[in-house]
């Protein structure tokens, strides 16, 4: 069936608009679309979105992460095998992280990483045929925020929620940040790490994030105020 931007699409539909735009200039097709000989076909169910110049993608609901290059992900160290750590990032197979890919790591002083540690890393190599590879050093060799995340709490949620809270237009984070101080790392593989001063505040942040999945922007604002007031004890 023919569909246009903004429609709810099912796999098997094709969109001529993309082909027509594509005829003129280069078109970027994102996740959920696949180019076949005659048309651009939709491969995932969701809403067909367009960003102005020429990027199209389908915003669909998904829980299982497919690793792809350049994304940050939160992983849990499964085993130490020789000089690489096997890290579980929720994909179909465990990723490999070499001990040298930490800032300032040399043959002699290895980074102290235990089994079960939570690490925030960037996916260096990921393709459907190869095992994904992680790295904890950003382009100019600095640690930045990558590396082992100590204490705090980590929990799993759907990939859409991650995209939603990380999008600039989402009011969640900025309405929370001036309520009480907390640290947050969101991995594109559906895992979020949070740490605040007290336990209740950490839970509050987690509660706010999970609660925001099905709310519109203003409902999110009211929810955040509600949580803030609970925290400060106005409502018991």
């Amino acid at each position: 069936m023919k569909v246009k931007v903004g429609d709810v699409v099912l796999p098997g539909d094709y969109c001529d608009e993309i082909a027509s735009v594509g005829a003129k200039s280069k078109v970027l097709i994102g996740p959920g679309l696949k180019k076949e000989i005659d048309h651009v076909f939709v491969t995932k169910a969701g809403v067909l979105k367009k960003r102005n110049p020429s990027t199209f993608w389908v915003d669909s609901y998904q829980k299982r992460y497919i690793p792809c290059r350049g994304e940050n992900a939160i992983g849990i160290v499964h085993q130490k095998a020789g000089d690489i750590y096997r890290v579980d990032i929720g994909g179909s197979c465990t990723a490999s992280l070499s001990y040298l890919s930490f800032e300032g790591a040399t043959k002699k002083n290895r980074p102290e990483v235990q089994i079960g540690d939570v690490i925030y890393a960037k996916i260096l190599v990921a393709s459907k045929d190869m095992e994904p590879e992680l790295v904890c050093v950003d382009s100019h060799g600095k640690k930045g925020c990558l590396g082992v995340l100590s204490d705090g709490f980590v929990f799993k949620c759907s990939l859409n929620l991650i995209r939603k809270i990380l999008s600039p237009s989402c009011p969640l984070l900025d309405s929370l940040k001036n309520e009480w101080p907390f640290e947050l790392a969101a991995g594109m593989n559906g895992r979020i790490w949070i740490k605040a001063n007290t336990l209740r505040e950490t839970i509050a942040v987690g509660n706010a994030i999970l609660g925001a999945e099905y709310l519109s922007d203003d409902e999110i604002k009211t929810m955040c105020n509600n949580i803030a007031s609970i925290l400060t004890g106005h409502i018991s």
Partner: protein
């Protein structure tokens, strides 16, 4: 697919949280997740859900020969299945130690506790007895499987009705449901299993969720003071019929007393819920209402992630209701066309005695025909 291990930060955080008196999803130590029991269209099939953990129990019966050692007793057979539907790390039809554990506990709770009157299942001594088979299937594993499985088994056994049987001489007539209304199974008492997760040396939390169960069991491996899962089977007369501990040894005895005390009132609560749901189901069936599993399908589940089933929640967090949409049907069109094809030719010849043969006319194909065996026409 190996199970994703519990990360150190989760372990530390949950432990600190519990020792400080709170729990991840805002419940108190004694509070349980909400129970829901729904029955299928035929007798003896029910789905019990405890928060997000869902278990389906299906009871079926057939006439078999009794065992020699107990010629006048029926047979009760419980079979637990944990498939990939429960969680990705389980494999289909493979007997993992979790299934053995659940099977053993349910058998202790329902078979050895003599809660079902097996004599009433006997039709003809030494020849024909009813054999009741309970199939327990774990639909979703979100912690505390044994409690949810025992509720499902109890509800389905209490709800099950077997066809009426009349004996004419040595012949046995099994009446269908429509001829004679079926006989309910007689239950002497209603046992149910309750789980407690032990943290540190004296903290008892009831109805542990998936993460609390994982953290509690993983703490056992380290050297510090014990953590473990205590399962108490108890019936409505507050008589414990099952006690099972996995994990580290318990130091003080009063923990077990505390567990049994809190188990008895909680058990009473759950058994009342089960009884009420069965009575309400019976009244509905009297009024000829069509009971069916499709009633458990709701469409406000999408929004429910805001309300009670949130895995991380402040104690008194709630939110205003949200509007729901309804869905409707649309119509459609159709098309058709016709095609003709031409027949192909063979000759049929009766060659050897008792055989007939078709030699397909293989015309010389343009392609150079290279075949290993020299089947010359």
């Amino acid at each position: 697919m190996k199970e994703t291990i519990v990360s150190n930060s989760e372990k530390a955080f949950v432990q600190k949280l519990i020792t400080s008196g709170h729990r991840l999803d805002g419940r108190t130590y004694k509070e349980t997740r909400n129970h829901q029991i729904s029955f299928g269209s035929d007798y003896g099939s029910c789905i019990a859900s405890l928060g997000e953990t869902k278990v389906m129990a299906q009871v079926s019966c057939e006439v078999v020969q009794p065992k020699q050692i107990r010629p006048n007793e029926g047979i009760l057979y419980i079979n637990v299945e944990v498939g990939p539907m429960a969680a990705p790390q389980f494999e289909a039809n493979r007997q993992s130690d979790l299934t053995v554990y659940l099977n053993r506990l349910l058998e202790k709770c329902y078979k050895d506790s003599k809660c079902i009157d097996l004599e009433s299942l006997c039709i003809v001594v030494e020849e024909k007895v009813w054999s009741i088979r309970v199939d327990v299937k774990i639909l979703n594993h979100d912690g505390n499987l044994i409690e949810c499985a025992s509720i499902a088994t109890l509800a389905s056994l209490a709800h099950f009705k077997r066809p009426d049987v009349t004996r004419a001489g040595d012949k046995v007539i099994i009446h269908t449901m429509t001829e004679k209304d079926p006989i309910p199974t007689v239950l002497y008492h209603y046992p149910v299993c309750l789980t407690f997760a032990i943290f540190g040396s004296d903290i008892l939390i009831s109805d542990p969720s998936y993460i609390e169960e994982a953290v509690c069991m993983s703490v056992v491996d380290e050297d510090n003071v014990g953590g473990g899962l205590l399962v108490v089977g108890i019936n409505q007369y507050k008589e414990p019929c099952l006690l099972d501990l996995t994990g580290a040894a318990i130091h003080s005895v009063n923990i077990v007393h505390k567990a049994i005390l809190s188990a008895s009132e909680r058990g009473k609560l759950i058994i009342d819920i089960v009884k009420k749901s069965i009575i309400s189901d019976d009244t509905l069936r009297q009024k000829r209402a069509r009971i069916n599993y499709k009633d458990i399908i709701t469409n406000e589940h999408r929004q429910s992630l805001i309300r009670k089933e949130l895995s991380i929640r402040l104690k008194n967090f709630n939110t205003n209701e949200l509007k729901q949409e309804s869905e409707e049907e649309m119509d459609q069109d159709d098309d058709d066309d016709v095609k003709i094809i031409e027949p192909s030719k063979y000759d049929i010849v009766a060659t050897l005695p008792k055989t007939a043969e078709i030699n397909a006319k293989t015309g010389k194909s343009a392609w150079i025909e290279i075949s290993s065996d020299s089947e010359v026409e």
